[in-house]
């Protein structure tokens, strides 16, 4: 084995590091004391990440024949790639370059110069010893299947599917409900432009329905996901609609003739009705109805078949069963959306007990011209127009008893409600808010407009909504008890109608979905991004992307942007054809494996397979994400982890412990 020739480069980072750490001293010490470890070059530079700094490394690799590089500078999360690329340019394998984070972990968090310098030296020693154990690595290449699976047919999923399909690549769009459209299809208007939601959404929906590259599977659910980036195998259950789709022309006669009327808790948010055979709304895509088996008279009593009798094309098929489809895709985009917080969980607001307290989605349906009241804003009795309306922001948001986060859309949604009530009823309107949050384009202008419409804004969290009148004025009304924090007094406001702007919460089964696709959730239940700022649409699992409200509350423009962004990433993967993965992977040595299978159950990605014939385990490198749990667990030490091997970590620990504490300096750096 050839001799280690290690170059150490200590960065000043202007005064960021040099202000606390004696950088020259560290560099000098490394050359003098770590010579035995293989250090042959040790230098300091004002900015190692500058082109001058990078060239310094390159020149030394070329001229001094360095075969390992240590850069003591900032966190590897910032510049590891920079220095690895610089090493690679000089012909050194990029994985033979290691960083010591003496800025984030030393100069920025410590003040005593002598001790900080000592710690920086120890960290350099750790990195030098570690890098000596490094082996050249090559990225793992996996081919990418051209097809993509998009889960969720709301606006984010629609956008993602269209972007990919328009680039010429096949897409499978899976939606659980009978139609795509998601929550946006339920809305009447969208803020702040007051565009009609259906008018802007339905063209997109029909584009999806007709797109030759999109295979739309509604009333379907993903049952199983196998495989890894580039090569997923997904089993989808197409639930039976009890309709022969080839024969159905979507005339809707079955729906008219069906004698069963059911409260539609889903699309109509519980304030409207649908039949047992139905399309959720007129512009549904696809336009085929769904037979609701648990509520169908034929399935309950064995007679009826009115739909079959009147169907002009004979498309009804009571024997039709669920269909299982297997698809192979290279990437998956999850755009599974959100649920509305159940405001019954806030008992003091009286939803479900006081008839004229409405949830935001109920109000959306009520406003909608295609909704149960044809767009009339009326009380629960269905006829009386309210003369006074209260809108409660943050119902279940920003509340430690419910959800501690801001649901982001409720302020604007409440302003939209205020405008619609004003426009359609002329009622007096009160908005009860904690803080007004209007950070989007034209959002605050809309707030100004609503202010000019003489809506009252009361800054305070509503403590109770009740029907207990204390005087004549409150008789027969809903009374909102609130502390007006601007006036500094308690107020009781009698109103005809109250709308609760409920919080957005993760889908009830988001935890199961996350598990199915092998991604993680935050403590609130939203899907976790790879990086909250720099990679908000990727997940930790390669090839699985997230878009829209599945990652947290978002308005429509943000959901659309994320749909496009996820699509762009997928398209770039498809166009490349082959993906290079970080080679941080675990490998089983066949010779040393005793076949105990301890590792088999530890892997959350099912990357470890056991071969019965040879009685050894093997790790699939495309599935393995490199966490290293199996490496640590193997009792035979048969599993090694590239990039983070036992030898590397132990060598680093030894290096870190090389130096004891320095005598503290009397003079502290301010």
């Amino acid at each position: 084995m050839n001799k280690k020739r290690i170059g150490v480069y200590v960065c000043h980072c202007g005064t960021n590091i040099a202000g606390v750490v004696d950088v020259e001293n560290v560099a000098k010490w490394a050359l003098e004391e770590l010579g035995e470890e293989g250090v042959v070059v040790s230098k300091d530079n004002k900015f190692m990440c500058s082109s001058v700094g990078q060239e310094l490394i390159q020149t030394d690799i070329e001229e001094q024949g360095l075969n390992r590089v240590v850069v003591a500078a900032c966190s590897p999360h910032l510049h590891e790639k920079t220095f690895r690329t610089a090493s690679e340019r000089a012909g050194l394998n990029p994985y033979l370059c290691e960083m010591a984070s003496i800025r984030e972990q030393v100069s920025w968090v410590h003040t005593d110069k002598a001790i900080a310098t000592q710690k920086a030296k120890a960290m350099v020693a750790g990195a030098v010893r570690r890098v000596a154990q490094h082996e050249p690595l090559e990225p793992i290449h996996v081919p990418i299947n051209e097809a993509t699976l998009v889960v969720g047919g709301g606006i984010a999923g629609i956008q993602a599917a269209l972007e990919i399909a328009n680039a010429g690549h096949p897409v499978y769009l899976v939606e659980r409900e009978p139609s795509i459209g998601g929550h946006m299809a339920q809305f009447d208007k969208t803020f702040p432009t007051l565009d009609c939601a259906a008018c802007i959404l339905t063209p997109r929906m029909s584009e999806v329905g007709m797109h030759p590259k999109i295979d739309l599977m509604t009333w379907s659910e993903v049952e199983n996901v196998d495989g890894y980036v580039g090569n997923f195998n997904v089993r989808i259950r197409k639930k039976s609609r009890f309709i022969n789709l080839a024969d159905c022309n979507g005339c809707g006669i079955c729906e008219q003739k069906c004698p069963v009327k059911i409260v539609d808790k889903n699309f109509e948010a519980g304030i409207g009705y649908r039949k047992a055979i139905y399309r959720p709304f007129d512009q549904a895509i696809p336009n085929y109805p769904v037979l609701d088996q648990p509520n169908c008279t034929y399935f309950i009593k064995g007679t009826c078949k009115a739909c079959e009798k009147f169907c002009p094309t004979g498309a009804i098929n009571f024997e039709k069963e669920d269909e299982l489809v297997n698809v192979e895709v290279g990437n998956i985009i999850l755009a599974t959306g959100y649920d509305l917080y159940d405001t019954k969980k806030i008992p003091q607001y009286g939803f479900g007990r006081l008839p004229n307290v409405f949830s935001s989605l109920e109000f959306e349906r009520m406003c909608n011209a295609a909704g149960p009241t044809s767009g009339e804003i009326v009380l629960r009795d269905g006829v009386t127009k309210p003369k006074s309306v209260g809108i409660v922001h943050c119902a279940g948001s920003r509340d430690l008893n419910h959800n501690n986060y801001c649901s982001s859309i409720c302020c604007m949604q409440s302003l939209k409600f205020a405008h619609l009530v004003h426009e359609r009823t002329g009622a007096t309107i009160y908005n009860f808010y904690i803080d007004m949050r209007t950070p989007g384009k034209d959002y605050d202008e809309f707030y100004q407009r609503v202010l000019e419409e003489k809506t009252f804004f009361i800054r305070g969290k509503v403590s109770e909504i009740s029907d207990a009148a204390r005087n004549e004025e409150e008789e027969g009304k809903l009374v909102v008890q609130v502390e007006d924090t601007l006036l500094g007094e308690q107020r009781r406001i009698p109103l005809d109608m109250v709308i609760l702007s409920a919080a957005l919460v993760p889908k009830a089964d988001s935890g199961d979905v996350a598990k199915q696709f092998g991604i993680s959730c935050s403590s609130n239940g939203w899907f976790s991004e790879k990086h909250p700022k720099l990679d908000p649409i990727s997940t930790m699992t390669e090839g699985i992307f997230i878009a829209g409200c599945a990652t947290g509350p978002k308005d429509i423009p943000a959901s659309v942007s994320q749909g496009s962004a996820a699509a762009a990433r997928v398209i770039s993967y498809i166009e490349t054809g082959v993906l290079a993965l970080e080679p941080i992977r675990a490998t089983v040595s066949e010779e040393n494996c005793s076949g105990c299978r301890i590792c088999n159950d530890l892997c959350p990605y099912n990357a470890i397979v056991f071969h019965d014939e040879t009685m050894v385990s093997e790790i699939n490198h495309a599935l393995c994400q490199g966490c290293g749990t199996c490496v640590a667990a193997c009792p035979a030490g048969a599993i090694s982890g590239t990039g983070f091997s036992n030898e590397q970590i132990l060598a680093q620990v030894k290096g870190l412990l090389m130096l004891d504490f320095a005598e503290p300096e009397l003079e502290k750096v301010p």
Binding site: S75, E104, P532, K654, L656
Partner: protein, 156 residues
């Protein structure tokens, strides 16, 4: 006057949460005592008990393991495996003459720079109170005889 005892702590941090929390503590210039030196791992589940023992025998007075909060692991659930190992390890090191309080597991997400700094500071204080470990020296002094005879370090 003798030099006051300053403990040496080795920290094993998860690449995705606590290593980034340490980054954030740095970026936000949050000060904590310099007694800790960090090792990055891809996941707290990578923690091989040998790493901890090697750190103690190499001169560390305390070992801190930091991972993502339960349910937030970037590898889905591997931090629970770290938790299991740490609990077992605490029982293992006790008969070896190491106070289990010298080993600590902390959950810190990438956004919890302040928490990370605070936990480090607390742990350094705890280990400072326990005094120097000198595990290897004590073991040598005892001529590697049965570990029961190891002096001091009786857990409370």
């Amino acid at each position: 006057m003798t030099k006051p005892f300053e403990p040496m702590i080795i920290g094993f941090t998860c690449n995705w949460c606590s290593y980034r929390a340490a980054d954030l503590a740095g970026t936000s210039r949050k000060k904590y005592p310099p007694n800790i030196r960090l090792v990055r791992m891809m996941c707290s589940g990578r923690l091989d008990p040998v790493f901890v023992l090697e750190a103690f025998s190499g001169g560390a007075d305390g070992v801190m393991i930091t991972g993502c909060h339960p349910g937030e692991c970037h590898y889905i659930e591997q931090n629970f495996k770290a938790l299991r190992r740490v609990l077992l390890l605490k029982r293992t090191i006790e008969p070896l003459g190491i106070n289990p309080q010298r080993l600590k597991l902390v959950w810190a997400s990438a956004s919890e720079g302040n928490l990370f700094a605070k936990e480090v500071e607390t742990f350094i204080g705890e280990v400072r109170d326990l005094g120097p470990l000198n595990w290897q020296k004590r073991a040598m002094r005892n001529d590697l005889r049965l570990v029961e005879s190891l002096p001091e370090e009786v857990p409370v």
